[in-house]
Amino acid sequence: MGSVKPQSHAPAPSGRPRTPWRWACTVLVTVLLATPALGTPTLQPELGLDEGTAPSEEGPLLLHLPSPIGDLDYRAGRGLRVGNSGLTIGGFATAVGEILEGGKRDGGIDSLNFLISYRPLSFVHLFSEVELTEPLFLESGKEGLRAQAETSVDRLYADFGSSDAINLRVGQFLTPIGRWNLAPADPLVWTTSEPLLVEEVFDDTVKGAMLWGTLFPHQQALAYSLYGTFFNPITPDPDAVEPKHVAGARFEWTGVGGTSLGLSYSASQKHGGDPWHSLVGVDGEWLPHERVDFTCEALFGEGPRTNGAVNAFFIQGVVRTVSTLYVVGRYERFDTTRERAVDLFDLGLTWVPSPALRIKADYEFADHSDDRSPPGFRFSFSVLF
């Protein structure tokens, strides 16, 4: 997603067969090829309505081009819509820089991510995120600009369903643990760095299937997801250890006004025959005032990326000050049985000149030197397109 997550160094990915991916790709291609004939776009501007009566997507229109497959409309921060095909292509880009204590400096274009969304039918949604990592980077101690971009498919899945209560997702998708990992892109978060409990404990994606939906008890929203791994990653990372099995669940209650509370559970087995380990997460968001936002997450147990138990939590506060300048503060405690506990502090400013742009500068420091979170000043510029 927005930043490159450190991977643990250990041997060999598991040996699950790749056949399910071939099967999934075949299904996706079949749906893609079959749908132009069946397609019923969600929006139907061709209901015999005249110019100006047809609905259009939200946001300022920056580009409008007629084409044989329909009008190409581009809106800032909402992507390029291809006629009434149901296809939207957008994304985000992030430039970062850091000046760390000890003298290390680097900066450049951290990532360029494309979001591809296709709704060929009202009950089918195909989605993918493709990332180009570090297309241009400058690092202290090395000469010249580095341009060794690598492409990876971060997400690729298909959603099927025609009710709010139950849907099926198949593919590679973000692991539903906590709330940060469900929207980890730089233009969506308030600090340049991620909490350790998001980076170090569990895989950021699930490669398998998920039942998900939203129920409305007492007219409030209760979202749930139940998932399990079945596939290998689309873009395998040779340095990463893929757990043999992961299964889990998440429930999130959201009240009117946006305040919400989440509960996550994940069980994982690193290798066949190993014992299963459990990880429990609790998270919440509280909006006491239009200008104030508090979020917190806590994890207890053992995740697929940890050796031994983890007890970790963070609490983050965001306060809007003058105009669209926000003051951000975060405290995190990350405690594992194998390493010394670390207390991390992150203080910064975020300026949102428009909803699609975010400029951040923050300073992170810890109660003691820790390789996982080197103290220093970091800044970033990110844009949704």
Binding site: L43, L49, G52, E58
Partner: protein, 142 residues
């Protein structure tokens, strides 16, 4: 100079008056006449945040908005969504990351009535005095 100040004050009072009038506008939430549904303001919130995406019969809900910044939309957002425009923009940025776009917009309340009258899956909001027999009112606000 004094005249300019007075003119500016008068203009501000007029605009404040317009805004107050918009706040006092009664809003009708309308659907196609064939859709026999009952809505509460809480369900309407879930629909306009696109958490509730389907009608009970499995058809996709097509929520319609007015353009950002229009007084009626501001009033509707305050009454139904309970969040300011900035916080909603944050919300829609996160949804965009998952391929979900905000409700489509139409240029006028008249266009909303026309569209809702022609699409059984659509839902929109208009001033209550603009409702005609081509649509069905499912909720009045406030």
């Amino acid at each position: 100079m004094r005249r300019r100040v007075l003119t500016a004050m008068l203009l501000a009072m007029l605009l404040a008056g317009v805004s107050r009038a918009d706040d006092d506008t009664r809003i009708a939430v309308v659907v196609h006449p064939s859709r026999q549904t009952v809505l509460s303001s809480e369900i309407l919130t879930q629909i306009y945040l696109r958490r509730r995406r389907f009608w009970d019969d499995g058809a996709p809900i097509v929520p319609l908005n007015l353009a950002a910044g229009t007084p009626l939309r501001r009033t509707f957002s305050r009454l139904v969504l309970g969040q300011g425009e900035d916080r909603l923009a944050e919300y829609w940025n996160r949804e965009y990351f998952h391929g979900v776009l905000p409700p489509a917009t139409l240029a006028s309340t008249r266009a909303i009535v026309r569209y809702v009258a022609s699409d059984p899956n659509a839902i929109g909001y208009v001033p209550i005095d603009e409702v005609d027999a081509s649509v069905r009112v499912v909720l009045s606000l406030p």
